[in-house]
Amino acid sequence: MSLTNFTIAEARAKLKAREFSALELTDAYLAAIEKAKALNAYVATTPDQARAMAKASDAKLASGTGGALEGIPLGIKDLFATKGVHTQACSHILDGFKPGYESTVTQNLWNAGAVMLGKLNMDEFAMGSSNETSYYGGVVNPWRRKNSNASLVPGGSSGGSATAVSAHLCAAATATDTGGSIRQPAAFTGTVGIKPTYGRVSRWGTIAFASSLDQAGPIARDVRDAAIMLQAMASVDEKDTTSVDLPVPDYEKALGRPLKGLRVGIPKEYRPDGLSSEINALWDQGAQWLKEQGAAIVEISLPHTKYALPAYYIVAPAEASSNLARYDGVRYGLRVPGDDLIDTYEKTRAAGFGREVQRRVMVGTYVLSAGYYDAYYVKAQKVRTLIKRDFDEAWAKCDVVLTPATPSPAFAPGEITDPVEMYLNDIFTVTVNMAGLPGIAVPAGLSELGLPLGLQLIGKPFDEETLFQTAFAIEQAAGKFKASQWW
């Protein structure tokens, strides 16, 4: 059996018992990555750095001073600044950019003893739901439809993270979620992804997309590993004033807590006309599992749900147009010379940004332009207040909300070309970002065509523990899912 088959929890115990070394574990992953080029999950690997970090971990493990993730090899989404290493948000405009500083999230992971294998593919600037907008090409989902060799997308924007975790090309990965970019790819690949409460994880050193929505979290193979990862990633940070000064609980301790007395809300607005029967059935099954384990199922109403996605497509592009103004051909990466400075800016941004990024920057510029600010951005922010209020009222009736993670299983590259249709992939996840709440996607079954399907749990602010507790209960009932290796 390959060393790459162990979860973080398993590898942690075996590393501590010196059954194998951190260097052996790292080498096994580097070999697996080498063999999986067809999946296009990594955009840069750092084997020398990985081996040096693993050797340092072995020294600490030998002296019994290892951290919580000592010797655990991780993949890092290309959105996180890693000192001296490829950090380009998978955009042409950041060509050659290697920051001279380290993001708080990755620094926390290295402080806990983790090993960096390399940087993971993603949609350009995290804008996409299929990983097709990456400058480095699409990522291939390890899962295929029954009796088919056709490629499927892994979802996005954290498509490289999801594929790498699902295909065992890292023990776990960092990811980010602005409208569903952790939870949707996790659902498409049979992995677990959690977007924590806004403010739980520092955003410092993470390339910004929409600052009031962006939040980092892990994608992992199971609920326990996701808990271990989030625990290491979360911190209050002086460099990010939106990071919240609350102690980080021991998330692993929440696993296995009995569900007796837990009230699980089922929002009726998440059952739109045309929702597929297999998604409906999965959702009912999930509620049934929780009920069997002692939870009470209650119907709730979140009446402004349908307005979350349109409001998101004002707020996110508006904030993106502002955040991406810094990519001007002067301070980072690509520069296309022009007749004068303005011409240099315009030519650089036309050549450096892909179509989807250009579209969103232009939508954002339009909705923020003189005369439209109140009609669009302020209106959307008011709708956000209503969405948040819906949840505040729901918490009187329930402790956690259960919904599907996505409206469908993974689709084929090129299958969705209409931007608005692509946006609908985030219909169940985006409300969570708009309200700043934590949400977790957990695999719950397979579709008729043999593809993973996920359920989503939404929690109260900073109640990630209840999400881990409930997701663990679903995982216990549903089991875990692994694609058979063809690559």
Binding site: K98, T197, G199, R349, M362, Y366, K379, K382
Partner: protein, 94 residues
């Protein structure tokens, strides 16, 4: 509200993205599709509703007015055209 070709050119200029003339009508169509999608918000009555400014109820943190980080200009300019830790740009003054 819908966007015409002239507006696309103006927005592209504001966004500092060079748009080829042949791409203007297609972009106008795409922007209109997105704007039509967000028009749904007109159904929502937001009278008396405050815009959301913070998703978590917290006071704005203030930090001491001291230097805690920085002094690494060389690292900041390392990945681009620079000289003596300054960014290099085309001549802007004749």
């Amino acid at each position: 509200m819908s966007v015409d070709d002239k507006t696309v050119r103006r927005v592209a200029r504001l966004a500092r993205i060079k748009v080829e003339e042949k791409d203007v009508p297609k972009l106008a169509g795409e922007l209109n599709a997105i704007l039509a999608f967000v028009e749904q918000l007109n159904e929502v009555d937001v009278t008396g509703i405050e815009p959301l400014t913070s998703v978590v109820a917290t006071d704005m943190k203030k930090r001491k007015d001291v230097v805690t980080d920085g002094h690494y200009a060389a690292a900041i300019v390392a990945s681009t055209q620079s000289e003596d830790n300054f960014f290099m740009v085309p001549k802007v003054v004749e």
